[in-house]
């Protein structure tokens, strides 16, 4: 279980996370939704220790990762797998080397078994016979799947997805959705997904949390979020151009241009 309390992060004068609280139950997929630039990526980068927050706690099975030094963090990070927005495949290595990267670094398998293990991980994301291809030769959806295979290679128990369906066509987006669901079911991993793709959120989520102005303003099951009474959440999930979120910035624009 991941328990985040009072998480605060500034960049310069800009307050990105403002005392955010979120609980991610074990073995479930929690989807964090929110507009672009609201700090969703910052949230999961704090969770995996890529960014140090200014204040707050992130407890993973009771251990607070914010108070850890770099060496302890390295040990905790082995429990995490992360799928990056642009897949972030190492473009100097072929697909096989990408997936095998962490296996070789941690010497998890003897060298002669690595090929086999990599093929098995790739088959879990529905790919085969592509180990010799370079990342530049892959389509966007394939890159994401290879990125996913790389993230699950070390058998993490927590998976973080940074906008897994962004930039994919609807069919490929649904393939990724199905993969996320099947990974949760077969591996029993706890996951946090950040997205603004509501179709994907409804499909893969056990819980949906809405991030707005640096705080989680509502958490609920997909059904609860769909029928929410909170006007801010409602505007976002229904994708309306007019509502409380945009009113405020329109007022601001009027104020500035006056």
């Amino acid at each position: 279980m991941i328990a985040i309390t009072g998480l605060t992060k500034h960049f310069g004068k800009k307050m990105v996370l403002d005392g955010l609280d979120l609980t991610v139950p074990k073995g479930k997929n929690t989807v964090v939704i929110g507009g672009s630039g609201t700090g969703k990526s910052v949230l999961i980068k704090c969770a995996v220790g890529l960014l140090r927050p200014d204040a707050g706690e992130i407890r993973i099975d009771g251990q607070d990762i914010i108070r850890m030094d770099e060496r302890e963090l390295v040990r905790v990070r082995r429990r995490f797998g992360m799928l990056f927005q642009g897949a972030a495949l190492f473009d100097s290595m072929d697909v096989g080397e990408n997936v095998a990267f962490v296996l070789r670094r941690l010497k998890m398998y003897p060298e002669r078994q690595i090929g086999e293990v990599v093929e098995e991980k790739l088959s879990m994301v529905g790919l085969r016979d592509i180990q010799r291809l370079m990342p530049a030769e892959l389509s966007g959806g394939m890159k994401k799947r290879v990125g996913l295979a790389r993230a699950i290679a070390s058998e993490p128990d927590i998976l973080l997805y940074d906008e897994p369906t962004t930039g994919l066509d609807p069919i490929m987006a649904d393939v990724i959705n199905d993969l996320i669901i099947s990974l949760r079911e077969t591996l029993g991993v706890t996951s946090i997904t950040i997205t603004h793709d509501m179709a994907s959120a409804y499909k893969i989520a056990d819980h949906i949390a809405m991030l707005y102005k640096g705080k989680i303003i509502e958490v609920g099951t997909p059904e609860q979020i769909r029928t929410t009474s909170n006007p801010v959440v409602a505007q976002f999930v229904q994708g309306r151009a007019h509502g409380p979120i945009t009113d405020e910035s329109e007022e601001f624009v009027r104020f500035v241009s006056r």
Binding site: L50, R78, F84, G86, A88, F90, D91, F101, V102
Partner: protein, 266 residues
């Protein structure tokens, strides 16, 4: 900021700008020094990254060899030409060999190799690491149980530190040979006198201080270029900016550190 920039006088603005620049420079220097300490501590921790170091040595050494050698040869040649013209005025042309050998080994070999490597290797390091940074590959390394400084920076710094003196040995050699050819075949100097004068005044110290300089240049170039790559942000434009900064800063550091090392070592 409460008052708008328009209300400030030109002088205030100038001082402010200067302050900002100096502040940014001090921050960069601090970050580069921290990076250096991280590189040193990561050298002793397993795994050894020996494969990466060898790969970088190939990249820095073998690939830079042609450009460094061509530069060194022509430097030696033009040096012979110029000193011949100058020394002729007071009949000291027999000393051209000594001047060429001393200038090349003490100064021009290491500095020109350093400048060429700043341009060629510094740019490619900053661009490569910068691209990895903006496409989140460096974050990905961290999530895959790998310290990016140890995996990316340390091998580059170690390789550049080892390989630059090797490049300079060849540069020294070709610079002297270039000077010899110009003096003997174009200016009609006596080959025996030329070689004798070259040996007579050249001490071992001249050569090894040059090599020590080259080693320091290698460390500085790799550290500075990796630093600017690591702090790149904002897509392709950011990578371009990082590359420019890396080349400018490392070339400047080569010349600045060269002065101080020379004043301490001789």
């Amino acid at each position: 900021m409460t008052d708008s920039p328009a209300k400030k006088s030109g002088a205030t603005r100038l001082v402010e700008l200067l302050g900002e620049r100096v502040y940014a420079m001090v921050l960069d220097l601090g970050a580069i020094f921290t990076l250096f300490l991280q590189v040193v501590t990561s050298m002793v921790r397993p795994p050894s990254e020996i494969r990466n170091i060898v790969k970088q040595m190939e990249e820095v050494g073998i690939r830079s060899m042609p450009v460094v050698l061509v530069t060194a040869t022509f430097t030696g040649m033009v040096l012979a030409l110029q000193s011949y013209a100058g020394f002729q005025r007071f009949g000291a042309t027999s000393f051209v060999g000594s001047v060429v050998a001393l200038s090349i080994t003490r100064e021009l070999g290491p500095v020109f190799a350093g400048l060429m490597v700043s341009g060629r290797v510094g740019a490619s390091m900053a661009a490569e690491l910068g691209t990895m940074k903006v496409t989140e590959q460096i974050d990905a390394l961290t999530t895959l149980a790998t310290n990016p400084v140890k995996y990316l920076v340390m091998p580059r710094v170690v390789a550049a530190t080892i390989v630059l003196p090797v490049l300079v040995v060849f540069a020294d050699l070709l610079g002297i040979v270039g000077g010899y050819f110009v003096s003997v075949y174009l200016m009609g100097a006596n080959p025996y006198v030329y070689i004798a004068k070259t040996y007579q005044y050249l001490e071992f110290k001249d050569i090894y201080t040059g090599l020590v300089k080259a080693s320091v240049f290698g460390t500085l170039i790799a550290l500075i270029s990796c630093h600017y790559g690591f702090v790149a942000e904002g897509g392709a434009e950011g990578v371009g900016r990082a590359t420019t900064r890396a080349v400018v800063a490392s070339s400047m550091m080569v010349l600045i550190s060269d002065y101080f090392m020379t004043s301490f070592m001789f």
